[in-house]
């Protein structure tokens, strides 16, 4: 177990190093280099030269690379071009919003996806099953930002079932502790704030959960069908075990193995979906930060840090998946 973790951490380090190197050299290979990127093409030669010196871009590339690596290792990603603040601050301010949204989405996707996929498999070939297949196929074919606008148009305009955007009603006096608004409300006993934040969370979470939900349903269904055909299920039936025991102990546990992998992959992919969802609902998290850093002149320091963060999250999630595999499947433990 320990060996798996340490090997994965080494792999994580190598991947991050490669990714940083790629980004670094790509940025410097752009026509005009990062200075042009910062100033735009109409800057005067004087300002250009000043900035080049100030940022150390007049030094040899390997010196720059060395300094870049040192800065990254010490958590110094420089300052945002847009706001001038340290990148670390900008990111840590936006992080809880996205984390809250992503956690809500994955709870929805797993909580609904696994049971629905299971039920569809038990009704194989019947109306419910076919309906599930069609709905999930459409689910993975819908551009999710369009789905977001659709839900917003239907449920926030005429009927006002949900708030159209934002994380919390403006003017509501809420205390921030963790930055997770729903949690903060509970911690500070401001339950109205908690409920309000939860209310704002519903539509974005549903939008973001759509694709993972559809995929989890499909994988669970396929996996349960595979397991139901296995010989050991016949053995369990031959033992005369009651149906619930067979399902819980023998079917579900084996069927969940491939589902766990997919949940991991989809959790990683949520960050990409968050970019779209946050723009639709004006959510103000990392996704919005990405959109802001690429619209107009590009905020490369922020973008660079976000790319690394996404990679770290993705790889860590997959590490967790591998570890949970070892818990569920004894065959992996030995290897």
């Amino acid at each position: 177990m320990l060996r798996v973790v340490s090997r994965r951490l080494v792999q994580l380090a190598i991947t991050l190093f490669a990714l940083m190197t790629l980004v670094f050299f790509w940025l410097r290979s752009l026509p005009g280099g990062p200075v042009d990127a910062l100033l735009g093409e109409r800057a005067t030669p004087q300002t250009r030269e000043l900035l080049t010196k100030a940022l150390g871009y007049d030094q040899p590339i390997w010196v720059q690379y060395g300094r870049f690596l040192k800065n990254v290792l010490t958590g110094n990603f420089g300052n945002s071009i847009r706001t001038g603040e340290p990148v670390i601050d900008v990111i840590s301010r936006s992080f809880p919003a996205t984390a809250e949204l992503a956690i809500a989405a994955i709870i929805l996707a797993v909580g609904l996806g696994v049971p629905l996929g299971y039920v569809a498999a038990r009704h194989r070939g019947r109306v419910l099953d076919n309906a599930t297949i069609i709905v999930t196929l459409i689910g993975i074919s819908v551009p999710i930002f369009f789905l977001g606008y659709l839900l917003k148009g239907w449920l926030t305009q005429g009927v006002h079932l949900f708030p159209p955007s934002g994380r919390i009603t403006t003017g509501l006096d809420n205390t921030e502790v963790t930055g997770f608004f729903v949690l903060d409300g509970l911690l500070t006993r401001e339950f109205d704030a908690s409920a309000d934040a939860l209310w704002h969370l519903v539509l974005p979470a549903v939008t973001l959960a759509t694709i993972p939900l559809a995929i989890i349903i499909r994988i669970t269904r396929a996996s349960v069908l595979d397991v139901l055909d296995e010989d050991y299920i016949r053995t369990a039936d031959a033992k005369g075990l009651r149906n619930p025991t067979v399902r819980r102990r023998h079917v579900l546990r084996n069927a969940l193995l491939p589902v766990v992998t997919i949940i991991g992959l989809q959790t990683g992919a949520l960050l990409a979906g968050a970019v779209l969802t946050e723009k639709v609902y004006n959510w103000g998290g990392l996704g919005t930060l990405i959109t802001d850093s690429i619209s107009g002149s590009r905020d490369y320091p922020v973008l660079q840090a976000l790319i690394l963060l996404a990679a770290v999250v993705f790889i860590l999630v997959n590490l967790v998946v591998d570890l949970s595999y070892a818990v569920i499947d004894p065959r992996v433990r030995v290897r």
Binding site: E230, D231, Y232, R234, T235, A236, D237, A238, K239, G240, L241, R242, N243, T245, R249, H250, R253, N254, L257, I328, D329, P330, R331, V334
Partner: protein, 326 residues
Amino acid sequence: MPLLDVRDLSVVFQQGGKPFTAVDGVSFTVEPGQAVGLVGESGCGKSVTSLAIMGLLPRRGNKVTGEVLFDDTDLLRLRPQDLRDRRGRDIGMIFQDPLSSLNPVIPLGLQVAEVLERHQGKKRQEALREARKLLDAVGIPDPTRRLKEFPHQLSGGMRQRALIAIALACKPRLLIADEPTTALDVTIQAQILTLLKELVDESGTALIMITHDLGVVAGLCDTVNVLYAGKVVERAARHELFAAARHPYTHGLLQSVPRLDAGRGGRLHQIRGSVNDNIPWPDGCAFAPRCDRVIDACIGETVPLEPTFRGGALRCTNPVPQEVPA
């Protein structure tokens, strides 16, 4: 009164295209403590017969007719939950491939113990203690350690022993063994068969042995039913069958077993074609296209299963003549 009385059992599969009759009016009985063999090539319907008796065929896509009387109760007409009460308690079953028949992610101990929990109402700890004894009884060394192990950590022979322990855990009155040795090495095969014979003799459990291997039958069974294309074609006591098989198919099967005393250079007997050969006539003998002794009557009319004077039964219009003892 027989323990198990199978009467006119038929199984028709109906998936997609035309229906396929896998088991066609099979009848046989098993007396308490008796060992009965169901013998035939793959595809003859012997495994389907056993699954039908247990009610383990997939719920959809097939039609089962006839009667399966166990203790005078028709298993085919029991409610599913009542059948579940009997499976594992009154009837145990062993399958062909011990690796795929054991759940890969559940420790062996629980896989044995759960039968005891289900049918004898034992608590987990008590059931596990009993499971340890059962593993010991089927000859698994170091059973305490094995309780916590998983199927992939055991050898093929050990896995089959574990399956036997599961099937016999509740001391059932009938054990159905579906090709229990086919997936094993030859040396292990003999061990498993010896173990089965000991356990069955000891506990008085009746046995249905399903196999394509006449050698297995010779060592274990009292009575043998030979199946061909879903029908019983010959039934005889073991000694009768090996001494004087009457049906050309049985005869052919016996001839195709390699014998150590046959001498070198002697050719093995072959049965022409395969069981999948289509039968171009609706009635008549299914074996006729492959039969050496085929006559016109084999094709024209339905051949009934008729009792023989030695207590067996035979479905043939032109049987192999009985050899006159020299």
